[in-house]
Amino acid sequence: MSPTRRSRQVAIVLATALATALSACSSGDSGTAPGGATGTQDAVDAALREGGEITYWSWTPSAKAQVEAFQQEFPNVKVNHVNAGTGNDHYTKLQNAIKAGSGAPDVAQIEYQALPQFAMTGALVDLGQYGFTAFEDDYTPSTWNSVKVGGGLFGLPQDSGPMALFYNKEVFDRHGLTVPKTWDEYVEAARKLHAADPTKYITSDTGDAGFATSMIWQAGGKPFTTDGKNVKIDLQDEGSRKWTATWDALVEEKLVSTIPGWSDAWYKALGDGTIATLATGAWMPGVLESSVPGGAGKWAVAPLPTYDGKTPVTAENGGGGQSVLKQSAKPALAAAFVRWLNNGNGVKPFLDSGGFPATKADLESSAFKDEAAPYFGGQQINQVLTAAAGQVVPGWSYLPYQLYANSIFGDTVGKSYADSTGLDPGLTAWQQALVDYGNQQGFTVTTG
């Protein structure tokens, strides 16, 4: 089954599930979504002493090791780890279980882009009631902001993805390219590279919602704002247009490869130099090291290009945390597990698996920062990446139905990519579809 068809089916499920969840939220008392509960961690500590059994859904590579370590430390707690699927499959099942009223896990991994959807519909426990708001200073501002929805705290951040520019040094050296500091220089490098060797591309992009929103974020755009049930969408704000003005050149001149991201061909292209750069999250080194052996010694990391070439700014791409589901019969114990995962001994197995943390202490430790990465020719890549973690543009938020939005990105903006035309008409079509959908779902959606 083609990915588009699958994502459409998933979109249908998500849409139906969301509709019911929202209507339940507006009519019933159960869905007291965003709040601002406060409390202490006593209940959590007590639940941990008492023990019990909880279920944890996650597809992260470190989940298994973390669960084992947790059970060793707390033998009276049994954690059933279930890998219910990666990305959309996981969310579809989660949303279905929430809608059905049973079958959801106690703790679930939820990415930042998906969190508002689950928090807004009242599916998650506000961890403020367990006093977890005290952890604010432990996390980077951008990740902390991502787990706060409408004044409530709906998870603890696990990883982060401040964006940087990964580039194939070998390709750059061979064609006499310098590492771009601005996006204009990046476009120039794209032209020069493709002219010198038509089989090589500066990057690949066939229209990816996660990438596009992150790029708009870096350009200073704030296309999505939510206040209760009022949603404002403006995908033609200054930041959005700043990004399209640059990226249009790459798309219109066919300077980006059309190899779909994460396909076998894509991994191949990362290894043989067909794709020369990647603007992506700080978690990418782990993927390159484990899955692109052909690129060893060739890749290097630089700060993400900016528009003015002066102030370093970046955005988050990917990453997420763990949340406690309202369906949980043992929410305090579930919260204890989340605390251990992302604010306790669980961070170490996560780091060991090659993850990029959200906790300031780990980001700033010299062992992490000064580590020379053999894959990257001994470059201390974390110097660049941890610096990026502090340069994320503040104030971003995702839509309360971002998963659906991302699933229809290909139908709207994807057309601009396919026809190699400007992205603004595509973004406008996406916006229109999102306004219509949001209004159908019971939000009041306005445009900017």
Partner: protein, 291 residues
């Protein structure tokens, strides 16, 4: 008539170059992905990402790949294979049995409400399974059956199309006179069904069974939303999970195992088709000529 017959004998149809060419193109279109799959299954993950799709890699790793497919992640592939077999044997087998009995009954017995059944049946054929998946999920969730094998088996038991096929087939293939003769000889209805009717219906039943086996074997969307516990996944959903872990944060691509797993997944279906195709052909052409 005779002159026409010498050039256009029904037994020796005229050869058409255009049609042959179209068939050749279609053959290529069908076979190339299969060839790609088979060749790719012999490559290591490394070769897969560095060599051309239709050429063999540096090492012939088919056996290693098969061994790794069965041992990866605690041998869960074998479990998925077993699950799929369970769903096929119980689900598709049950669907075939029910469709056969019901189709025969509707074709050969007169009772009130037959037309209503027919209308409901046609309606059921028209609704795609995907559209019913979410309501079915909610219903099963209320019954507490999600995340169990029953969530896959029970919906698979119903095959409106199979029922319709047996019905129309039974009208043609089972003469009323034969049933009457059997009744006069003193045979009960059950005995007639098992000793007389089933034999006559066999080509139709095999056709229905093949349809049911293929659709249960390939069932994807229903198990995707019904099951969250990988221990109950069928091969389709399990392979997709392996394939999906190649993307995003913490990506761990294992394309060589996904491809080898796909080859192993289609082998039983190919065998089933080869063994049953003569029934299949006679089943499909039944009723095309008035006897």
């Amino acid at each position: 008539m005779s002159t026409v017959a010498t050039t256009h004998s029904p037994l020796r149809p005229r050869k058409s170059r255009v049609l042959t060419a179209v068939m050749a193109v279609y053959l290529l279109y069908t076979l190339v992905p299969l060839v790609w799959l088979l060749i790719s299954a012999t490559k290591t993950q490394q070769d897969l990402l560095s060599t051309s799709g239709l050429a063999f890699g540096g090492t012939f790793a088919l056996l290693d790949n098969i061994a790794e497919t069965f041992s990866h992640d605690g041998g869960i592939f074998l479990r998925w294979l077993g699950n799929t077999l369970l769903y096929v044997v119980v689900g598709a087998g049950g669907a075939t049995a029910l469709a056969t009995a019901a189709g025969y009954g509707l074709a050969k017995y007169r009772f009130r409400g037959r037309r209503a059944v027919f209308a409901v049946l046609l309606g059921a054929i028209a609704i795609p399974g995907t559209a019913l998946a979410v309501p079915t999920f909610l219903m099963f969730s209320n019954l507490g059956l999600t995340n169990t094998p029953w969530a896959i088996i029970i919906p698979s038991l119903v095959s409106p199309f199979g029922l319709y096929l047996v019905w129309t087939y039974a009208v043609e293939a089972v003469p009323d006179e034969l049933l009457e003769a059997a009744r006069i000889d003193g045979a009960g209805e059950l005995r007639i069904f098992f000793t007389v009717t089933l034999r006559l219906l066999l080509p139709g039943v095999v056709t229905v069974a093949l349809f049911a086996v293929v659709s249960t074997w390939n069932n994807y969307f229903l198990p995707l939303i019904m099951l969250s516990e990988p221990d109950w996944y069928p091969l389709t959903v399990g392979l997709n999970q392996w394939s999906a872990q190649a993307s995003g944060v913490g990506a761990q691509p294992i394309y060589h195992l996904v491809i080898t797993g796909a080859v192993i997944t289609i082998v039983p279906l190919v065998i089933a088709f080869l063994l049953l195709q003569r029934f299949w052909q006679s089943g499909l052409t039944a009723g095309s000529v008035k006897q």
